[in-house]
Amino acid sequence: MPSNETTDRKIMDKKVIDISGEIVNPDNLKEESRENNNTDPNYWRSFRELHNDPEFMKLKAREFADGALDKPDLNDMSRFSRRKFLALLSASAAVAATGCSNYRNQGLLVPYNKKPEEISVGLPTYYASTCNGCEYACGVLIKTIEGRPIKVDGNPDHPVSKGKICAIGQASVMNLYDPERLKNPVERPDKINSNEIQWGVADEKIISQLKAAASSGKEIAIISNTINSPTLKKALDDFKTVYPTAKVYSFELFDESTRRSAWEKSYGNQNLPIVQLDKAKVILALESDFLGNEGNKIENSMMYVKNRDAYKGEFNRLYSVEGNATITGMNADYRIVLRTDAIEEFVYALMIEIIGREKISGFSTDSTAMSRLQKHDMTNFIAKYGISKTAVDHLISDLKKNQGASYVLAGSALPESTHIAVNLLNEALGNNALHSKDQSRISLVPLSPKSEWEALISSMKGGRVGAVIHLDSNPAFVLPSDYRYTEALKGVPLVISLSEQINESTAVSNFVLPINSMFESWGDYQTRNTFLSLQQPVIAPLYDTRQKEEIILAWNSGSKDSYNKDIYRNYLQANWRTTVLAAQNTDMLFNTAWNAGLNDGVVRVTTTSSAGTADVPATQQVFKPEAFVATSTLMTAGSNFVLLLTQNGNLGDGRFANNGWLQELPKPLSRVVWDNYAAISVQSAKALGLESSDLVKITSSAGALEIPVFIQPGVAEGVIAVQLGYGRSECGIVGKDVGFNANSLVSKGAKLSPWLYDNVTVEKLGGMHEIVSTVEHYNIEEPLLKDIQFRRHIIQEGTYLQYKADPDFLRKKHGDNEYESINKQYEHTGTKWGMAIDLNKCIGCGECVIACNVENNIPIVGKDQVQKNREMQWMRIDRYYSGTPEDPKTSFQPMLCQHCDFAPCENVCPVAATTHSADGINGMAYNRCVGTRYCSNNCPYKVRRFNYYNFRDRFRDSIQQEESFSLMANPEVTVRSRGVMEKCTFCLQRIMEERAHAIKDNRQVIGSNVKTACQESCVTSAIVFGDSNAKESELHKLIHSDLSYTVLDEIKVKPNITYIAKLRNVYETENTEAKH
């Protein structure tokens, strides 16, 4: 707008002139300066200024020169404004940023550099080995994939475990990959701080100190759990040669000491026989949890269920007399609830009825024995303790009828006097016929008796012990607290612990040396006289660890440089060359024989010359009846509480406390997770005013303990039972401070037995510690819930005699509810996957749950989430009580996704994430699931599990996200994240594997080739999976058998899982509990 411009300037000029007129007037200035007598000279910069040129004066007043303030010529300017420039800059930056990522990059494919011959990518390789979980050394098959062990199952060649393994064995994979395993040797000079050292340095220091101790006559004590490895024993013998003051001590938390000492008194030796329970028609279990916790429970369970098949053979009958509530008792046909300290009197009363009143053929006891028995009488006993006369009468008559085909098992916790009495009873009944004649136990190194321990402790205190070596053992936690072991250890200058994880013993050691897990170790084991079991490493040690035998060998040689990574393998082979394989008397090359042994995992031997002690075979046991007479003590029932300390099936003696799967496995009866508790009876709880989770103080002659109670139906009044192995104080993050350490209640000088104490007081403290159970702990007498399992036909039971009389009784009782189904029925031709679970064989042990966890990458969720019913186990064992709370009957039922043909969950998924396949499987597509949870809402069996959190991230500072944990995952099963629903898939990955084999061999899929994880692990073979359309298969026969039923069958969802009704072998032909 030019016109404005000139007028503006004019206005400006005018104003300038005005200003200039005022200010720059040289004459005025001169005048003023003369007037003021100012002597400042007149400054001028140019002639124009000097002469006060009027034009110049105008210019001077203006700040900007001509044209400087002209509006810019738009034609001169660039088309590219600042704004445009900035916009383009940011746009190009954005484009560059998005274009930066190579969205087509599919990652890397990295093959082996030199592929080992055994490995096929994606195919598993199996190795036979031996388990180290407990002293029974069962054989295992380890499944590895690309070099990583991911699953452990039983070795079918092992004569004792016969292809099965317990929960501890199944979960042992997690022990290998535990991120909190010890990884480097550490030295702890003041037993407080640790610094890492090299193996060579540690060896050198230790060898010099050991040599010094030996030469100065100080004892070197090696403390271990049961030593059942012949080669380890040899290495220890060599150690004792090099260090002459060395002594080996061994211990177990539950060592059957009373049973063995009783056997010694009765038979003159400590070689307990192997009882062939599968030949027994009647079994009496006196406080004996032989199916759950005592002895080799795998062997026991397999022998027991041989005679519990409804369609084959005759049922045996199990009687149980116990004060604690155990799964053996709950599986019994007749269970007599009796406080533990009354059991010995019961045995006496039984003996008087059986031996006293009627002379048993061929057996005579002398009058002294008889006179001892005469004081007891069964009728009085029944009246005094209020037990069922019917049950006792049946027991007596059964025992008398089945002499030589029955057995009385006394529990390990019972005192020596009871065991002696039971030995007499078994002999009288001729039950020694059940003792195995061709198999006997081998104990290479007997466990150290109390006298040896006390001598050791006093030597330690007196400074006569120069070194203590904990050989993969934890005496600071396990030994009875009144040995005061940890305090005595302070007097020992050198304490070395060889361990896989931190524990209470490593916390008080000078050297903590990490050892290999069972997957990384060589070994050989002998528990029976007929075979040896080999152990081979399937993976090189993950960390800087050594095998405990290797460490011993390095110390034996006296020089740290003798170690190389094959040292124990060579030693083992050398030992075998001279002992085992030499005795085989074959002309097979050693290497062939060795490899054959490793392939099978088990080598049969005919002589025990390679082993330790020459045992007395079963046939040569001579009974000494005078032992009974010589017994001076008799356990009698008191009026105070009696305390029973029991084994827990999951954590061993506490060494597996850091294994989250085992902690989260519910205990069979109480279904409690993550804690131990004091099991107390309903009556005692009422008397003391206790509710579950209330804290009590238990005081015995050994010590005191504060622990929460749990009201357990079926516990006898006056009995309080606590599980040992909990309350680890020095442990990884998972197991630390979980549960309560009942070790303070174990005494070395117990009157009855180390696990049974009378005169115990229980007092209620205030406060509580929440005990979390996976089953709602409801009052079983509440009207709405009482016998719900029978009213809804979830549990259908009968008696064996009833079944014999009328095989069709179950169908007649429940009928076939012929309601109309709203679904269109259709025929499934071709393969149809189904499962049958035999409730006669299911003892409720929970192995199937752990196997499913390992196979399907189930996360651990922690106690707080289990409380909200958010445990992620796909399979659960439902446990129902019926009858009275004081003396209930228990029914177990494994519950998993029923794969219903008309699944209510499939209809309601808004995104069709769960669909039914033509072969009967209800599948789950995790990638489609949006987490509506409508399917779980609709499931009548409530078997769907939802990932409310990414539990791997959430539990215990994301320990499950550690690198080593991810190595444990089964690569064939998706690892689920937050927001996704999951459930049992019938091991679809195994079905697809079978399908791939079938296509490779150009044949049809054979249903019985597929073994689901739960089926494979079930010790009693209660679970059968397969093709229900295959007419000759076992599954088909089971589904169409007389006792089969489906759960909640009136809602017509057609589940693919069939249950076989439990038959209790009682004399009554009507199952009086299940009246509905």
């Binding site: 590895t144 079918p156 081979q536 490793l598 994301s958 190595l967």
Partner: protein, 79 residues
């Protein structure tokens, strides 16, 4: 006397925008939304978190033991 500064030349901004300066309301609205967006994005990790361990270098070396003997079948070996 009004001293008008030489720079009262803002009048030709009008040529460019043909409107007044961006309204104060609009300005605050836009900056408010920007601030809110930044706050939301920084508080809620919309898929930004990478699962721990997925990008880490494998420090555990897995190697099978060369002396181990594999088993060919899972069935009983007639042993």
């Amino acid at each position: 006397m009004i001293m008008k500064n030489g720079l009262s030349s803002t009048n030709y901004n009008k040529d460019i925008l043909s409107s007044e300066k961006i309204g104060r309301k609009k300005f605050f609205l836009l900056t408010g939304i920007a601030a809110l967006g930044t706050a939301v994005l920084s508080a809620i990790p919309f898929g930004r978190k990478v699962v721990a361990g997925s990008t880490k270098q494998e420090s555990i070396k897995i190697s099978p033991n060369p002396h181990a003997v594999k088993r060919n079948n899972r069935q009983e070996n007639n042993g």
